[in-house]
Point group: C2
Chain length 449, copies 2
Amino acid sequence: MEKEKLLELLEPQAPDEILDVIRDEVSELHPATLADLMDQFEDEDILPIFNTLDLEQKVAVFHHLSESTQQHLATTMRFQRLVKLVSLMSHDDRVDLLQSLDDDLKETVIRSLAKAEREDILRLSNYKEGTAGAVMTSDYVWIYKENSVREAIKKIKREAPDKETIYTIYVLGENRELVGFVSLRELMLATLNDKVEDLMTTDLVSVDATDSQEESADLLSKYDLIAIPVQDEAGRLLGIITFDDVMDVLEEEATDDFHKMGSVSLGKMTLADASISAMIIKRLPWLLILVFMNIFSGAGIAYFEDTIEAVVALVFFLPLLIDSGGNAGSQAATLMVRALATGTVKMKDWFRLLGKEVLIALGIGILMAVAVSFIGFYRGGIEVAVVVSLTMMIVVLFGSLVGMSLPFGLQRFNLDPATASAPLVTSIADIGGVLIYFGIATWYLGVGV
Amino acid sequence: MEKEKLLELLEPQAPDEILDVIRDEVSELHPATLADLMDQFEDEDILPIFNTLDLEQKVAVFHHLSESTQQHLATTMRFQRLVKLVSLMSHDDRVDLLQSLDDDLKETVIRSLAKAEREDILRLSNYKEGTAGAVMTSDYVWIYKENSVREAIKKIKREAPDKETIYTIYVLGENRELVGFVSLRELMLATLNDKVEDLMTTDLVSVDATDSQEESADLLSKYDLIAIPVQDEAGRLLGIITFDDVMDVLEEEATDDFHKMGSVSLGKMTLADASISAMIIKRLPWLLILVFMNIFSGAGIAYFEDTIEAVVALVFFLPLLIDSGGNAGSQAATLMVRALATGTVKMKDWFRLLGKEVLIALGIGILMAVAVSFIGFYRGGIEVAVVVSLTMMIVVLFGSLVGMSLPFGLQRFNLDPATASAPLVTSIADIGGVLIYFGIATWYLGVGV
């Protein structure tokens, strides 16, 4: 059933009738659709709706709900129901939920769980946010390498209902160290008496628990894996990260880079949820930094005050010239930041790309100089035309080189290349642009200073 | 084996020895690793290396190779080998390969294939680039709803070696229309005599072949699916899109938006591969458009020439003020474009977000006005301080509203919101900024015009 149709059905109903509709229709709905729907109700209506679901549906729906709805439900539902829900949730999701609750409630829930679950939660919450350890889950299927295919399939069938994925099975050695993996497909095609170790793939793609979630996501995506295993320093298997969680990580990282490129970073907030004061706090700092950088442009202009007074027509071309440098720089920075983030360009390519960028920027600069020379001639005669075209060429070259080098420089010092945001590159290009423009004008026109 | 280690091993060797090393080590290497390695060799070395692989390895490695390496191999390898390779490749990958070849070679290869494969290729190549139909593959497993679990598992085992995924099995009705799906996990847990139709999930998440690849990717990601089915208008199953292809689509779309935001769009090229002239052609148009937009800023300045001549100190604050408007606008546009792309914000939220943005921008504007008033006072006394602070507040508000409304406006007219690039928003904010600044100065200081 389509969400729109259901919403329509619900629209004119009293709350009790809504519950009846949901009870009747819910068996047909995908948990993600139902969660979407629930997120749209007012807080006080959500718990009654949630309570119409049976336990299995609750578990399935819960992890699709928005963080704020999850928190609302967790704090309003009956405590024993919360404990039951947490014990049945997938291991990574329940850690995320518990960490979003206040400390008292979290502690009480954890204390009410069985010992094995308590330990699992503590182990998983040990890892810093942003690491592979923090996004992994411990509900994977493993077998010993001495097991036969028959034993493996028996174990998979037994454990299937509780595991995040059963399509990749991890093979452990004597000391629980990860020695390989085997896909369910391979097991199904093998003879029941075959040994797992004869079937398994030993060319492992894995990450350490302390590696970044981004690196884990990139590897999974590159090798087309359903899940990537996470190991400790001793090579023991700690957990896995599945492809659906990786998609969320990739989207998060892309959003983060995207925002940084516009010199605003929301962290865990979303545009729709963030409060007005939070948004001001997030957006103001970079704007202030950029204002103070612009004082240098202003100081440059002040220094050339005599030149400006002598030929006021020069001011006409100021925004056009310095913005062109900034725009060419934004382009170069954008291309470079994204290429570094997706791994299509590496640190070692810097020198080669620098040479290429010089030629590209020169080409663009010359063509832009030609375009702008006509406007220069029209407004200020041949002399202004010369100054303006020469400036255009140099300013585009300068902006492009700043734009392409800054992300590399940041990466070199282990800072995030995306900090080389379009506004930052523009501001640097502006300062350079002012100096270049009035410097050339003063020299060529023989006025001022 | 690590790629670095292998590269080190290969470094000082003669070509023949390289081949020996690869032959010895290759059985341990993941196809993606080997492909990565091959991409780094010179064109003339690639074919000999590729030929050391057995057919199965060739198929596995080929689809991980870069597009240019694939093309080089396809045009240099023996024709019969190419036909064999194409016939064994996954159905979506081979269509991509064939479409990258020149028409003669493509036709000859297609003519040499078996009839069923020929038809499959023609059917898959029928869809426009960017649609679900163009990224789907036809190697999925399907069963009739009347089948028993025993029959289903038998069919899966028989077809497993040739299918892209066997973990979701699609259930068809009498007229080959898609009626549901069942996971291999569910089949394994069921009794062999159960009927498929009693097990299957009928709440289908699917797309039409003409839907966009982006929409398909978003749905798969939202519903945590391994694959999403693609149907025709009559509801018949045409193919599936698997999660690994979706990851590529998501990355492509993110890159595309990212590039657009920096007002440069590379299309299918990558920064590392693109030629210098191609890069100039891709980057120049937007820069020229922006130059011509900046003529309006220049015209604004020219109009207020008398004001500037009266109080030259005003020029000092010009870059600082107009850039602040542009930067606040870039932030707002960045947040909005990404939120629209990820679906966290919808068209209907425009009015609510506009109200919120007014308050946010006012807050930021006032704080920035306070900061800049000190510099204004220091450089030009109380009157300049008033003009500069008032301008700052209005310019930040103006820029922010342009930045947040432009992406919405573009979306409203079915254009790509990401066209509201940072440089475009900056240029619009600049024009507004010049008029606001000198307008206020002329009025408040009672000079010029």
